[in-house]
Symmetry: C2
Subunit: 213 residues, 2 copies
């Protein structure tokens, strides 16, 4: 099973690494980190590069596509090389997936028209401009397309995907392997749970998070 | 605030990237990915390299040290360059932290003698050989040392650390920025929650997870 995870400048690392850590444990999985130009790819903070070993053109027919989000999504979503690769790959994937604002790349490729989908809570209006209906759930499945909410939601989505591919027991074993019994010290992970002040602070943090480059 | 995250061959990516994604949003944070030899560092699956921009010697007095775990931990924990760097850095850190089997590096450096600590559930016996008492909690604080349980537990630990450094409201805003309202499809993330069969499957997955190189 060939899994292609897209990397691009200005992406958010955890969007990719969360689901990667789940999916790479699937028996028979081969994960390809792909980019328009192979090599180190700078993430949004400016502090970290992930390496794309493989060019888009080398993985033309993956079984699974995963698109991370991040401040660089808008550039990625208007990059015709990426969009053409995605459209071609999607024609033969078993699953086409996104995390966070990665769904905007799906939208820009014309793949979300008329569908329910999710994205980072802060960018839901941008998602709807592509003809999708924003659905504030942890992940949303529509046929073979699965979109996950912001950043950390990719882990939950990938466990669901693992269960669809290899059965509940394998997915449960992966969850245990990653000791994923989440217990955050607070309960403010969605805008429904957070106060207006915390929402404003989060917006402020996110607006500054791209400034360390 | 200078944050040093250690990279080494055979580490588990999410151990580092989960807490990184939290801590890099702290106001004033600078994150250094450090390694004995700067450059691309291959993670445990063989599918992914993270780039260390900086040599250990260039970040001698970080405010925070974070040690990820993974199958490569045993080699890292017997690497005198790493252990010497860690001992020196620890003398002046505000916080010295680990995720998963990263605590074995702390142990090998002699920093866990007589303390409560945690690690990946599968390796608790190895932790106790360093004089620590294994404590199966999501994260364990002992003075300025905080150890987190397996892989994903680093996210929870980092949110706690963020609250200690910048206050609860900033930590809560970071949680919201990462949309960290975890909702996995299963409830098998700790050995206390999983059946014997799922535990055996997880052990099998983990034993094979280092074989793709």
């Amino acid at each position: 099973m060939q899994i292609a995870i897209l990397l691009y400048e200005g992406m958010t690392a955890l969007d990719a690494i969360g689901p990667y850590e789940v999916l790479r444990l699937l028996p028979g999985a081969t994960v390809h980190f792909v980019a328009e130009t192979p090599g180190p790819t700078r993430t949004d903070s400016g502090f970290l590069s992930l390496v794309a070993d493989t060019a888009l053109s080398e993985v033309a027919q993956p079984d699974i596509v995963l698109l991370p989000g991040g401040p660089g999504t808008f550039a990625a979503a208007s990059n015709e090389h990426i969009l053409n690769w995605l459209r071609t790959a999607h024609a033969t994937t078993r699953w086409t997936t996104s995390v966070c604002t990665g769904s905007l790349i799906l939208g820009a490729a014309g793949l979300l028209q008329g569908l329910h989908a999710t994205t980072h809570w802060l960018l839901h209006a941008a998602l709807e401009r592509f003809g999708a209906t924003y659905t504030p759930e942890r992940y949303v499945q529509q046929g073979k397309i699965i979109t996950a909410a912001g950043v950390s939601a990719g882990i939950d989505m990938a466990l669901f995907l693992a269960s669809e591919i290899a059965g509940d027991e394998t997915a449960q074993a992966i969850q245990l392997a990653l000791e994923y019994a989440p217990h955050p010290p607070f309960n403010t992970g969605s805008p429904q749970q957070a106060s207006a002040e915390i929402i404003e602070r989060a917006q402020h943090l996110l607006s500054g998070s791209n400034s360390n480059k």
